[in-house]
Amino acid sequence: MTSTLLYTVLSLSILGGLLAVILFFVAQKFKVQEDPRIDQVVEALPGANCGGCGFAGCRAFAEFYVNNPEATDYLCPVGGNEVMLRVAQMLGRDAREQAPKVAVLRCNGSCEILPRLNKYDGSPSCTVAADLYGGQTGCSYGCLGMGDCVKACQFDALVMDPDTCLPVVLEDKCTSCGACVKACPRNIIELRPKGPKNRRIYVTCANKDKGAVTRKVCSVGCIGCQLCMKACPFEAITITDNLAYIDPAKCRLCRKCAPVCPAGCIAEINFPPKKQETGNE
């Protein structure tokens, strides 16, 4: 009895010891040389693995960033410039400052404005609905209101507004990782620069139909009337396919476009209330 126990323990220990020695040499022989800086960079990154930088995860980004010294224009959207600066200093190179971005919704067709034409009762997902048909309302470009973007956001920066059936971006939580942009089957979420003092102007519509068609289905849709384009002193506004787009790089936030829009679909965010017009102009 005792001897069986003894033999078992002994043979197993010897076997274990042998294997350990073999493993030690194998590990020495096939050691993968990895840049120790990669681990440091991963450590410094936020670790959200959101894919917002365009890589498969934080580690993939770190590997790329460390191995490509000329890569300066990359930005971790979650960490922002602060983290990138720290990482760049760690590697002893420069990081070019990038303008922080935020997700904006290019649709204002709330459920009060767009009456539902039929009843969708399938799988509660925008992607399924968009694949099946043109939507519950007449607009085949606008928000479907089933919240795929909300589900895709891992930072809780999007919530559905039950009154309007539209998602709302919570600015302070949005990291501009772009997960919602990918999740939206209608492509109505855009990443735009946050702008100075978080102030920005954009068109809240994605409808590319002709004006009359748009007008029929939505009272707050862009009809491509070009009034904003003519009002803009900086040529920041272009109209393609009956839809206005404000180029954030050219826009100087003069706010001349918003009041002329007949559909009221140019949003001004975080501006102080406008002063009464005086005779200066």
């Binding site: 034409l117 009843k119 399924v128 694949d131 043109g134 309302t137 007449g138 085949s140």
Partner: protein, 448 residues
């Protein structure tokens, strides 16, 4: 002893409320929207432009290749626009809009109701007429008929099966057509049979819930050596091409194979009727019969409509619309097609198409889906699936986005019949996700 297919299937209530309503000619609409994409394959190319006068039966769009079909004007009047216009799903499709003015027909079209029995055209002429008349599979898929009648090299059809199964609940358009135009359907079938060459036998498959149609068709084929009627047990989706071949001949179509590989070609009875009209009467495909049905007994009709009539016009004629242009409040949803495979109408101003077989109105209570629960692996979906797929597994794989495994499990064999969804005790949106994943991987394949 009635035959049926061997795998899966379900038994929904047949709800054929409108079976005794004779086909009414729908009044000519004021304006029609004729879509250029009413068939599978390449969209047709318009040959008319804004301001052109057109007559009924005039060619307005040419096919854009072999797998495509021409389109003809269904009314006479003036082309008011050629523009992308939202179809019933709200998706933009290139459309020819015609403002109606009178009812002027192209010369050479025989509009008399007499049946022309003698067949004088040669098989080649018949084939040419079919491809020129814009005939597509009217069972729902709208596959161009001339393509189907051209089997690939080395495949010899032995049977032409006319599909009178009409297994979808509610729909009665094919049934009424068989009762009222049985002889024409047989003639159309005979014409198609002759294009396929010698030694092809004709079979008409009809489900047992249409005894009058079976009786009539039997009587009409009693003197024929080439044609016979096969009664089928009532079961969904018997009208599916692969299921019908299995039911009638007991042959199975392999994965990715064409149905003709089993030696059978399936055509809908409405298609046969359209072939008769095209060849014997020289009339292109510009009208079809559809069923308007609901549980409300006053709204149960069978109409022969002109292609491109706005859905709204048909519904308001049937009495399902309010005076102000909205849908009657009792109905929550309009479905284009049958209740199992039809698609919800999101644009009531959209037109009906060549292949539209029904417009069904459902109340909120009828259409409400129950809250989805958890899969308990009961395998009911597996038992119901007529393609022997594993819907619960495909659903899980689709949710996880595992495309390669989906393909390994034959996701492309899915015929979207909806049996899995119908039978699932947990009310899981099985088909929704499977269809989504399948479409996504199809798109990926095309990109490659």
């Amino acid at each position: 002893m009635s035959k049926t297919f061997s795998i899966g299937g379900i038994h929904p209530d047949d709800c054929k409320f409108s079976r005794d309503c004779p086909i009414e000619d729908f009044p000519i609409p004021k304006r029609v929207y004729i879509s250029m994409n009413q068939h599978l394959g390449m969209p047709a190319v318009p040959v008319v432009k804004k301001g052109d006068p057109v007559r009924v039966g005039q060619l307005i769009a040419e096919p854009a290749g072999f797998v495509s079909a021409p389109v003809h004007a269904s009314v006479s009047g003036t082309v008011s626009d050629v523009t992308p216009y939202p179809d019933f799903l709200g998706k933009k499709v290139l459309t020819v809009v015609i403002d109606t003015d009178g009812d002027q027909w192209e010369e050479g079209i025989d509009r008399s109701p007499e049946i022309r029995h003698e067949i004088t055209s040669s098989p080649e002429d018949v084939f040419k007429r079919i491809s020129e008349s814009g005939i597509v599979g009217l069972g729902g898929a709208a596959f161009p008929t001339h393509v189907k009648l051209t089997p690939p090299e080395g495949m010899k059809p032995e049977y032409l099966i006319l599909n009178g199964a009409e297994c979808e609940p509610y729909l009665t358009a094919d049934y009424r057509l068989m009762l009222e135009h049985g002889q024409e359907i047989l003639l159309g079938g005979e014409l198609m049979r002759r294009t396929l060459g010698a030694g092809v036998n004709g079979i008409i498959g009809i489900e047992a819930n249409k005894p009058r149609a079976i009786e009539l068709m039997r009587e009409l084929t009693s003197k024929s050596l080439q044609w016979k009627v096969v009664p089928l047990k009532k079961r969904y989706p018997q009208g599916g091409e692969k299921q019908l071949i299995d039911a009638v001949l007991g042959r199975r179509v392999a994965s990715f194979a064409l149905p003709v590989s089993t030696g059978a070609i399936v055509q809908n009875v409405s298609t046969a009727y359209a072939v008769y009209e095209a060849v014997q009467k020289n009339k292109p495909l510009i009208s079809k019969v559809l069923t308007v049905s609901s549980s409300d007994s006053s709204i149960q009709k069978n109409y022969r409509f002109r292609v491109g009539t706005p859905i709204m016009d048909i519904l308001s004629h049937a009495g399902a619309m309010e005076k102000d242009g909205g849908l009657s409040p009792q109905f929550a949803k309009v479905v284009n097609g049958g209740p199992m495979m039809g698609k919800p109408v999101s644009n009531l101003e959209g037109p009906v198409m060549k292949s539209t077989s029904g417009l069904l109105l459902f109340t909120e209570k009828e259409t409400k889906r129950k809250e989805p629960g958890e899969c308990i692996r009961c395998a009911k979906c597996f038992e119901a699936c007529p393609m022997r797929l594993q819907p619960y597994l495909l659903y899980q794989l689709a949710l996880a986005g595992r495309t390669e495994e989906l393909e390994e499990h034959r996701v492309f064999d899915c015929i979207e019949c909806g049996c899995c969804l119908y039978t699932c005790p947990a009310h899981l949106p099985l088909l929704d996700q499977i269809r989504l994943a399948r479409n996504a991987s199809l798109k990926n394949k095309r990109k490659k």
